[in-house]
Amino acid sequence: MYKTKLFLTLSLLSTLIFAETGLEIMERLDNQPTPDNVKATLTMTLVNKRGQTRSRTIQRFQKEYKTGEFSNKSLIFFLEPADERGTGFLQWNYAEAGKDDDQWLYLPALGREKRIAATEKSSEFMGTDFTYDDMGDRDINKYSYTLMGEENLGDEACWKIEALAKDKSQAYQKLIYWISKEKIQPLQMYFFDKRGDQVKTLTFSEYKKIDGFWMAMQMHMVNSRKQHQTSLSMKDVDLKTVQDDNLFTIRLLKRGIQ
């Protein structure tokens, strides 16, 4: 009896001493190896509350920078629907903490690129339930984290972490993450607005290890307020081809990819 009590006390102590904090887990997530180069075709299927569907297909290029001024750069081209074809979106994320991204949108009808303010990142990405912000990397320094406990999602053991925005400029004031303990990848996220209402749920599924990197081939965003949802599926993933720096320029944004 005494030994059992001692064992339990030691176990609890070791848990307290060695348990990771929410921030440490998020830093582990943030430090997960990510491919330096990504080229993929994404199909987003939009479903409204009456079950009507629309779809958008985009081609996405992304390049990570380990050193220097930039954190990453991405370039997106719309392939479908036909009336959006040729639309492009270029984003430069900076390594310097707190420095706003630079973003440009190219609309073929306008014939020129248009600068977009970083605050527009909270806008819906071409009518989907994803915002421009959701499509990019989230700066972990803009939130504070608390480990809420552990939960299973399906068969996977997860850490459940609450993230609270450090300032009111963030589109979401609170996020809850379910991070797979095995993959160190998110499996689910809840998004809360400024009033504390849960507005969106994002689930990640069909994780595949491609060239040593975990990639969620399916993402599903449900906007509970609008009763609208977007499924995002990824195909033709290429992590090997080194993307040329010249790809992530206004020149290519306007010219398009051959």
């Binding site: 409204n48 605050t119 071409m126 020149r251 051959q258």
Partner: protein, 441 residues
């Protein structure tokens, strides 16, 4: 010349991209507009089909945009190869040869630096952006340095702004002029009819070609450009007035005036930039023009009754714009602009006003995940106190099918007797509602 140029571009494209990938896309668009004033005449009733064919190779591309229309009101069909060009891509340079549209500047809807391609005002300024610019045959080269880029263009043949020759959007100028004349009863205003003569285009020769440069880049958070254009003014200026008189028992009495216009060479030096500031984007643009001609008021006669010049005067001219874009939510985006056009070193005899100030406000957004989108554009002239308000509701019925319901309101202010590109008051009887259905493929 034009046909040869286009044919050459097509041949070059096929030669360059022999193993090319061919893509075709486009749209079909029935479009009906009705005048909101009784008797509610139809203003537009047409079908348009546009097909863009792109032949892509690894280092070259050929693009052809063929537009065809059928106009029910005139029962005519026509077509135009609105763009037909070949792109050649090099490591640090691009070359585009053929009929193409070039867009310069940061201003929305108001051409300040964006004067390379003339506008088609067949439907005033109410056409879509890609329809309103007239593609020109030109050679355009871009060279990309590490921090700055250079664009150079050469336009062998001048093409002026196109005005409606018939229909509701004709820019009709005054057909009579009150001429002050000495009569037995004192000074009296005698109405005299005016006959206008079409301006003659500059001869097709190398010396009359147009050229320009643009230096542009992205530095310190600014998208910036400096531009220079040596070109013909798209709008002709008064070149001569001739007074015709008839012999009557009372002597020679003037009965008509002939007015001639001419295109003039001008130069433009411009700048523009945009930069995110706080929660929005600041845009500014300016252009300084030399060689621009302005018509003069009045008629001077010599002792024989012949008109004597000068009929126009060359003055420096400036246009500038400052604008702000603010996007709050997907359902509320605002964009405002203030534009000023100013004749420098002004002479009171000039027909045009010294200052012309315009303001624009664009409000747009989308609902139901952009299934329903709205747009309200208000464009007003502070000096002539006239305005245009465009309202538009777009319903994205399905992927590739859009229904657009809109109405344009033109509000009269003070009358102007000279040509103004944004003369809303002139068309205050052309308020209209329209429906467009666009199927894109």
């Amino acid at each position: 010349m034009k046909k040869w140029f286009v044919l050459m571009a097509i041949c070059l494209a096929f030669a360059q991209v022999g193993s090319a990938q061919i893509k075709m896309n486009g749209f079909v668009r029935p479009y009906t507009a009705v005048n909101l004033h009784a008797p509610n005449n139809y203003m537009i009733m047409e079908e348009k089909a546009s097909i863009t064919t792109t032949l892509s190779g690894s280092d070259a591309r050929g693009v052809f945009v063929l537009d065809t229309w059928y106009h029910h009101l005139t029962q005519t069909a026509n077509w135009d190869l609105t763009e037909a060009y070949v792109d050649l891509f090099f490591e640090n340079a691009d070359l585009r040869i053929g009929k193409q549209q070039v867009v310069w500047g940061k201003a929305d809807g108001i051409p300040i630096n964006d004067i390379v391609c003339p506008w088609n005002l067949q439907d005033f300024i109410l056409q879509d952006f890609d329809d309103i610019r007239i593609g020109l045959n030109m050679v355009k080269a871009n060279y990309y340095f590490s921090f700055v880029n250079l664009e150079a263009l050469w336009i062998p043949k001048f093409h002026p702004m196109e005005l409606a020759q018939s229909g509701p959007w004709v820019f009709s100028l005054p057909d009579t002029l009150n001429l002050p004349l000495e009569t037995p009863g004192g000074l009296d205003n005698l109405p005299v009819s005016i006959s206008y003569h079409q301006p003659v285009l500059p001869a097709d020769k190398l010396g009359n070609s147009e050229f320009g440069f643009r230096l542009y880049g992205f530095n310190l958070g600014f998208d910036w450009a400096l531009s220079y254009l040596d070109a013909w003014d798209d709008v002709p200026a008064l070149s001569e007035k001739q007074l015709y008189a008839s012999l009557t028992p009372a002597g020679m009495v003037p009965d008509s005036i002939g007015i001639w216009q001419a295109y003039n060479r001008m130069k433009m030096v411009g700048f523009n930039f945009s930069r995110p500031v706080l929660t929005g984007v600041l845009r500014a643009e300016g252009g300084y023009f030399t060689g621009k001609q302005f018509g003069l008021d009045g008629i001077n006669l010599d002792s024989t009754g012949a008109t004597i010049g000068p009929f126009s005067v060359t003055k420096p001219y400036a246009q500038y714009m400052v604008g702000w874009d603010q996007n709050w939510k997907s359902w509320l985006n605002l964009s405002g602009q203030y534009i000023e056009q100013r004749i420098l070193d002004y002479d009171t005899a000039i027909q045009n006003d010294e200052i012309n100030r315009l303001v624009s406000l664009l409000v747009r957004g989308g609902f139901m995940n952009e299934t329903l989108q709205y747009q309200i554009l208000a464009l007003g002239n502070l000096d002539y106190e006239d305005a245009l308000m465009r309202t538009m509701l777009t319903y994205n019925y399905s992927d590739g099918v859009r229904l657009i319901l809109g109405a344009d309101f033109l509000i009269a202010g003070k009358n102007s007797t000279t040509f103004r590109q944004f003369d809303f008051g002139r068309f205050d009887q052309n308020d209209n509602a329209y429906l467009k259905v666009i199927y894109s493929f």
